[in-house]
């Protein structure tokens, strides 16, 4: 039996939201009642948790009912213009960039220039011309913006 991939996505969304509702319930349970007004700090979290759980339960039921019906397999979408391994590379590069700034391993201009070049390189097929342009853009945007922000606007940047 073929199943639509949509029902899986809906079920996953519903379960995730049920998890959020559960967190709200757990968090609200620890909150004190208010002496001065009827609702207190726990009131709206509980209301929101009930609403979210109810809506998610409806979505989950609808998804499971849809999933039980026979449906034509959904054709895989054409690939986006960035292949999967490159997307993972961009994700790793992004996390690494923020981590480098967080731990102040190198300054903002250097980290940013490297990130701009690396992310850009992962998004396109490289030729000599494109690499040259990419290096130029990375330097101008990375170092240029850093200079403008720190020297002229006197803004504090991460990593400094």
């Amino acid at each position: 039996m073929h199943r639509s991939r949509t029902w899986l996505g809906d079920a996953a969304l519903a379960l995730a939201m049920l998890g959020v509702a559960l967190l709200l319930f757990i968090g609200a349970a620890d909150l004190p009642a208010s002496k001065y007004e009827p609702m207190g700090p726990a009131g709206l979290p509980i209301i929101v948790a009930i609403a979210l759980a109810s809506l998610s339960a409806i979505l989950l039921i609808l998804a499971l009912v849809r999933g039980r019906r026979t449906a034509p397999r959904v054709e895989r979408k054409q690939r986006g213009h960035v292949k999967r391994h490159r997307m993972l590379g961009i994700a790793a590069l992004t996390v690494g960039y923020i981590a480098v700034l967080d731990h102040e391993l190198v300054g903002f201009p250097v980290a940013t220039t490297a990130f701009l070049f690396g992310a850009g390189a992962l998004m396109i097929d490289l030729t000599v011309r494109r690499v040259t342009v990419l290096v130029g853009v990375a330097l101008v945007v990375g170092i240029g913006s850093s200079l403008i922000l720190t020297r002229i606007l006197t803004v504090t940047l991460p990593g400094s």
Binding site: Y36, M39, P41, L62, L101, M123
Partner: protein, 495 residues
């Protein structure tokens, strides 16, 4: 009238004009580039506006909004890619006209339509906002709470995807906004021991993450097909007067549709364009031309989407309720500048309220000239490779968040919200409902709790006070209407 004239006097001074012009140009450029948008740019510029005077900040941001809705016309017509959702309907007829060698004509009609739509709706903005704000001063807490509920249900019902997912998005936004200090007692709630969350999820990292970073991820993984770009020369864009005049009724009808849809809380310019386009097609003598290069289609869509911008400003300024998702972000801007959104804005900060109204008109005029002179050039910007653009935008996201909070934790949060936002979009939940829920949650909670204290713990006044019950009935109708329509459709099919 006098405060408005005073505001015009303030807005035509050099710095204000500079900010309006800058906002319009940035808005047109960003609106023209698919994948970006007014919301993104406004959120990115919010930290920079910290250093600006409040009036200048708001008129800059409103001008971006005006420019961006018009900018979507350029890429819709020349590249078959709507720069903004509001330009989707324009794509259907603008690009086919461009492929027939009439790109300049299509752009010209669209620009004039945008201008007229903006002018007509501005009259409603100037005339309706002050009395509506005065009327809203009579609202009690339950009226505001019901209005928020209605706004959330409205946007959930008109957003793409199912209403159920729209409501889930809104409630999820509510849930995220609850983290942090309680509005009344300041008890820290839902931080689960993370002291970095004692202040809650701050507005900017959440907004930038959900709105901007998630869109960047979508742009990276998205599917783009190469399209043939049409070209338009400025000199070819000036048409004869009768070419514009024969669409007179369409301009007026579409302006009114756009204005009133814009006024509805939570609805936006995309819906205005769709409704206006459909109406024009139903009333047209040549409906078969729609979708293959109909001038009426372009006029209807572009007039309505621009009219909805000023229409959406009416509930924003008068009630503090956003007329669209971008308006929700503008509420964030008001809050960041220590301005209380709501009917009190006219009495407590008339310079800001009337300044926004005056700037909206001037921005519309500047938009007209910018679009006429620069459409071809701006279209070339749409072809800047994403490899150069997207990482740079992410860099500005980091700068924006860090300058506002000075915490690396918030940058990690921004990234997390970006991933969550991307997952939520892919699951079919409209991001706009989340943003509205997140922004409106504090208002809803404080009004509900004030109401309970005022009416001795009773919720009954919410159902007996006429304005409050009207809002709730509209919300209920919006929820029940699709279900009823489906049921009627099924019983007709069964027969």
């Amino acid at each position: 009238m006098e405060p408005l004239l005073t505001a015009f006097g303030a807005v035509v001074e050099p710095w204000s004009l500079f900010y309006i012009a800058l906002g319009v140009v940035l808005g047109v450029v960003v609106g023209a580039i698919p994948g970006l948008g007014a919301g993104m740019l406004i959120v990115l510029l919010l930290p920079i506006t910290f250093y600006m005077d409040s009036v200048h900040a708001l008129i800059l941001l409103v001008s971006i909004y005006v420019g961006s809705v018009s900018g979507g016309l350029i890429s819709a017509t020349l590249l078959r890619m709507p720069g903004t959702p509001s330009a989707i309907m324009t794509t259907l007829d603008g690009y086919p006209m461009a492929m027939k060698g009439q790109a300049a004509r299509a752009l010209s009609l669209g620009i004039v339509s945008s201008f007229i739509g903006g002018l007509v709706s501005w009259i409603f903005l100037a005339v309706l906002s002050p009395p509506l704000a005065s009327f809203a001063l009579k609202f009690g807490p339950y009226e505001f709470f019901s209005l928020v509920v209605m706004a959330l249900v409205l946007i959930a019902s008109v957003s793409e995807g199912s209403m159920l997912k729209g409501l889930i998005g809104a409630v999820f936004g509510f849930a995220i906004a609850l983290v942090g200090p309680d509005v009344s007692s300041s008890v820290i709630r839902l931080n689960f021991g993370f002291t970095d969350l004692n202040a809650g999820f701050r507005l900017l990292p959440a907004l930038i993450g959900m709105f901007v970073v998630s869109q960047l991820i979508e742009d990276i993984v998205g599917n783009e097909q190469p399209v043939r770009q049409a070209r338009a020369r400025m000199f070819d864009m000036v048409l004869k007067g009768r070419d514009y005049a024969r669409h007179g009724w369409n301009y007026l009808r579409s302006s009114l549709i756009g204005t009133w849809i814009g006024i509805l809380p939570g609805v936006g310019s995309a819906v205005a364009a769709i409704v206006s386009y459909s109406t024009a097609r139903n009333l047209s003598k040549t409906p078969e031309e729609f979708g293959s290069g109909s001038e009426e289609g372009i006029v209807a869509a572009e007039t309505a989407n621009n009219a909805s911008v000023n229409g959406a400003l009416v509930p924003l300024i008068a009630l503090g309720i956003p007329g669209s998702v971008v308006d929700a972000i503008l509420i964030g801007a008001l809050i960041i500048h220590d301005l209380q959104p709501g009917p009190g804005l006219f009495t407590e900060q008339p310079k800001v309220a009337y300044g926004i109204i005056a700037a909206a008109l001037i921005a519309n005029v500047i938009m007209f000239f910018v679009m006429f002179t620069s459409s071809g050039l701006i279209a070339r910007l749409c072809t800047v490779p994403k490899a150069f653009l997207l990482p740079s935008i992410f860099m500005f996201c980091i700068i924006g968040v860090y300058t506002s909070t000075n915490r690396m934790f918030d940058i990690w949060l921004m990234l997390a919200f970006g991933v969550i936002g991307f997952a939520v979009r892919r699951a079919g939940v409209p991001i706009g409902t989340f943003v509205l829920g997140f922004i409106l949650a504090p208002i809803a909670e404080s009004q509900l709790r004030n109401g309970l204290m005022l009416y001795d713990q009773s919720l009954l006044p919410m159902l007996t006070r006429p304005i409050s019950v009207t809002f709730l009935v509209v919300a209920l109708l919006m929820v029940c209407w699709p279900l009823a329509r489906k049921r009627v459709g099924r019983s007709r099919t069964a027969r």
